[in-house]
């Protein structure tokens, strides 16, 4: 099967790759662009470990074809910090010990960032339902939810 040339923007950088039309965006990010921060936990859109945003919309990159990224803007975990300055969510995840194995962490951070951009002051229940598509098997979610709420509070304070 011949490959398709794709030009897209990832974390602000224009990139090109050749995609087999059967490959997912996740495959392309990981295997063609070397962006292995997004993870495959299921390949069926159930676990959220591959969460990225596509033109600002939160998606499971395992359910998007690589060729669909043509001309779009993709944002992944690798673009979340600005240089060495961590996003408040990343900092709060460290402070709250909100990760154990860390495998679900990139997807949860990307998903939580998308939440806070839509809703800067979510309730605990809103955070829980927003993140219900991101499985974590280690933490029982407690410290993750606390970290997201704490990051939201800090970001509101900074914005004020």
């Amino acid at each position: 099967m011949s490959k398709i040339h794709v030009t897209t923007t990832v974390n602000g950088d224009e990139v090109e790759f050749l995609a087999d039309p059967r490959e997912s965006l996740l495959d392309c990010l990981r295997d063609h662009l070397g962006l292995t921060g997004s993870k495959e936990g299921c390949g069926t859109g159930d676990c959220g470990a591959c969460s990225v945003t596509l033109d600002g919309t939160l998606v499971c990159s395992c359910l998007v074809l690589g060729v669909e990224a043509e001309g779009r803007r993709v944002a992944t975990i690798e673009g979340m910090a600005e240089g060495n300055a961590l996003h408040p969510l990343q900092r709060k995840f460290l402070e709250h010990a909100a990760l154990q194995c860390g495998f679900c962490t990139p997807g949860i951070l990307v998903a939580a960032k998308a939440l806070l951009e839509k809703n800067p002051d979510p309730t605990e229940t809103e955070v829980r339902y927003w993140l219900a598509g991101n499985l974590c098997r280690c933490t029982g979610y407690d410290k993750i939810i606390r970290a997201v709420l704490d990051a939201a509070a800090e970001m509101r304070q900074e914005a004020a």
Binding site: G37, L94, Y129, A132, G140, Y141, D142
Partner: protein, 748 residues
């Protein structure tokens, strides 16, 4: 002065950021599937669609003709003549004469891309002769059940036992009949638990390379790189030292990554493909169909109790299937089931039964959750019948130091009573409950484990310290080991770097399992640090021209031990390190042992639930974990273990189960259908760390990883009875089952 003689610590018990945290929040941390190599091929595995079938013929000619396909392997590529568990591992890695479960590997292929490998796998033709199969443990133990493997029974199995019984155990003490005769209430009940999966979010992944010279390397997500080395070497007939295994960061394990699955296939494919490295990444469906679920269990329990709540005797018969191979943790289940209770008389019987399911792997406190589900449920039911407080009854019968354990030996220092007292005074117990709401409590136990441990510590030129450990960091153990090392050396936490190293860098280490990493690697790191301290004291003594015995170590520096030793200002670790090249060479400390003094951990959980009488759905309103940690080195990660264990137990109790069709195929091999708890299923999980220090560890550590998965199963069953008046004796307690029980009770 040894730090364990101090009552106050500088670092132990604090909550610094974990050293590997930055990599893990930025996506830089490299897990099993994240590494590629020059010349790399991709592997794919052909798996049996049948629960039980004879393999008549494998024809790979079409696959081999596909451009880009570099190697195909079947069982014919593995050495013959293995015995015991090595044979089991080899047979599970790649089926021989018969496929023994849905998902059993029968062939594997390597090609130049992942898609090409998958295409090739589909072109491998396997002809099967389907055989009768058996899935349920109670069916599998019948005398007329389809026989999984002739001659699988070991020497423990009495003659005349049913053909699928692979192991048998019986133990006990005292006169149970006399005990039951003394009881005011005797109740006997039967319970069932379904198989569940560890459910780590990272699927198994490895990148293996093996040359014709027998030298190889592997990058792999595993709980134990030496186990991978030993098992791959055994299965493939390699020399262990010729295989270097490097552990990736690991995306969860919970016991399921303490063994091999497709790892030998990547090596076998690589060797056949001229030594090119081969990467194999499992799909989620492969993980669920072919990697370690836990056992399923069918259990009969009988307990005698006086009207004031004293247990007089107990009898348990457990039957467990752990797939098509021996190894269901029926012994551990029996050992743990009554561990929180002082029993005047007991009898325990266990059967390890074969069935056409994947080979079970360890899952967090293997066996303990099933046994607790049966025993803790029945104790609660009897307390209810006798009008007794279930917590008081647990306190009344609680084992203490010096008591005989239900499984025989005498307990050393344990913290069950302290744990139960902490529960009793917890404010959650005073909170009011509404209609359709109920509260349940249950205890849990895990022995904890030590195991082969090797740690090496080296002082750098600037006085900072590196520690090489062999136990992969699954949940913050780098942080806890760095804290203990820095505490021992009297230096800053940030000045210690803990590295999880490959098999070529240390002696043999058992995996991070059995709740052992912080206990065993931590204890070894402390001893290694003390050895480095002794050497640093010798270097300082030589500089000062005094006896080494006249030097002691305090606050990160050597100093004269007293006025008679002479007057010298303290010589700090930086100064000693800077000079070490000219004072005798590198300074390091090592420790290799099977550390003694592992401390057991008891826990007690309290759960409040609401049961919807119209749907049977159970909502967890509130959850409390109280557990003895001995000493919490990094309390956040201890809490994390408590919370994570509870969440897995909640999933096991309410939703998770392997669902098989009549054809013996697994029907829910995706996360959509194998329903692990999601964020919206759970409340915050309250924790209270009890600290009854373990005398066997320099800082008092007890492993905390496993006990927490045990109490949720019975605690939730007990809460459901309190909320809805129905007693659930089989898992999962899913809405349809609870609703059916509610309807039956209404009609009853």
């Amino acid at each position: 002065m040894a730090k364990d003689e101090l009552s106050e610590f500088h670092l132990v018990g604090t909550r610094p950021l974990r050293p590997d945290g930055l990599d893990k929040v930025t996506g830089r941390a490299r897990y099993g599937a994240d590494v590629s190599m020059p010349g790399m091929l991709w592997g794919a595995v052909v798996r049996s669609p049948h629960a039980h079938a004879r393999i008549v013929r494998i024809d790979a000619s079409k696959a081999e003709a596909l451009p880009g396909v570099k190697a195909v392997v079947t069982r014919a590529d593995f050495p013959e003549g293995l015995t015991g568990e090595n044979w089991n591992l080899q047979e599970n890695t790649m089926a021989g004469e018969r496929a023994l479960y849905d998902g059993h590997a029968v062939a594997a292929v390597a090609a130049t891309s992942a898609l090409r490998a998958q295409e090739a796998a589909r072109l491998i033709e396997v002809e099967y002769e389907v055989l009768p199969h058996v899935i349920d443990v109670d069916d599998a133990i019948r005398p007329d059940a389809p026989v999984i493997r002739e001659g699988a029974a070991d020497a423990t199995v009495p003659e005349g036992s049913p053909p699928n019984v692979a192991r048998y155990i019986e133990f006990g003490h005292g006169d149970t009949e006399a005990g039951f005769a003394k009881a005011d209430l005797v109740r006997a009940r039967s319970y069932k638990t379904e198989a569940t999966h560890q459910g780590y979010i990272e699927p198994h992944a490895c990148l293996g390379q093996l040359g014709a010279d027998g030298k190889g390397e592997m990058w792999v997500c595993t709980q134990g790189q030496w186990f991978i080395r030993q098992m791959c070497s055994s299965v493939l007939g390699l020399e262990a030292a010729q295989l270097r295994v490097t552990p990736s960061e690991i995306g969860g394990g919970f016991g399921g990554k303490t063994t091999i699955f497709m790892e030998p296939l990547s090596l076998a494919l690589s060797r056949k493909a001229g030594g090119r490295p081969v990467k194999i990444v499992m799909t989620r469906s492969e993980v669920l169909r072919a990697t370690g679920p836990t056992a399923s269990a069918s259990m009969d329990v009988k307990i005698g109790m006086t009207k004031d709540g004293m247990i007089t005797a107990a009898d348990a018969e457990f039957r467990m299937q752990g797939g098509a191979f021996p190894g269901a943790p029926v012994d551990m289940a029996l050992y743990c089931a009554f561990a929180p209770y002082k029993l005047p008389a007991s009898r325990h019987v266990g059967y390890d039964v074969l069935a056409n399911r994947p080979k079970c792997a360890a899952y967090r406190a293997p066996g303990s959750p099933m046994g607790a589900f049966a025993v803790e449920s029945l104790i609660d039911e009897m307390c209810r019948e006798l009008g007794l407080d279930p917590l008081d009854v647990r306190l009344k019968n609680a084992v203490k130091e010096g008591d005989r354990a239900s499984y025989g030996p005498t307990f050393g220092s344990i913290g069950l009573v302290e744990t139960l007292e902490a529960v009793k005074s917890h404010p959650n117990l005073e909170l009011p409950l509404g209609p359709n709401q109920g509260r349940g409590i249950a205890s849990g136990y895990w022995f904890n484990h030590s195991g082969e441990t090797s740690v090496s510590l080296a002082i750098s030129e600037d006085g900072t310290v590196q520690v090489s450990v062999g136990t992969p960091d699954i949940g913050g153990s780098r942080a806890s080991i760095a804290l203990m090392t820095a505490e021992t050396l009297g230096i800053a936490y940030e000045d210690v770097r803990v590295n999880v190293v490959e098999t070529g860098a240390l002696g043999v280490n058992e995996p991070t399992h059995g709740s052992r990493a912080t206990f065993a690697s931590g204890k070894a790191a402390v001893i290694a640090a003390r050895r480095a301290i002794a050497e640093m004291c010798r270097r300082a003594a030589a500089e000062w021209g005094i006896d080494a015995e006249a030097v002691e170590w305090a606050n990160g520096a050597a100093q004269p031990a007293g006025p008679n030793a002479g007057k010298f200002p303290p010589m700090g670790i930086e100064e000693i390190a800077a000079k070490m090249g000219s004072t005798g060479g590198p300074i390091s400390g090592h420790h290799e042992s099977v550390p003694e003094g592992v401390g057991a951990s008891f826990g007690c959980h309290v759960v409040d639930v609401e049961v919807d009488p119209e749907t049977g759905r159970t909502t967890i309103l509130r959850y409390l974990v109280v557990q003895d940690a001995g000493r919490a080195i990094h309390p956040s990660y201890v809490e994390g273990q408590f919370q994570g264990g509870a969440a897995q137990g909640i999933g096991w109790a309410l939703n998770e189960a392997y669902v098989y069709g009549q054809d013996g195929r697994l029907q829910n091999a995706v996360f959509l259908d194998y329903r692990v708890p999601v964020a919206s299923d759970l409340p915050m999980i309250d924790t209270q760390i009890v600290e009854v220090p373990n005398p066997g560890h320099p800082f008092g550590v007890r492993g905390v990883g496993e006990t927490g998965i045990t109490p949720p199963l019975p605690a939730i069953a007990n809460a459901i009875e309190a909320a809805a008046g129905v007693r659930m004796r089989s898992l999962p307690m899913s809405p349809p089952k609870v609703l059916a029980a509610i309807k039956a009770a209404r009609e009853g």
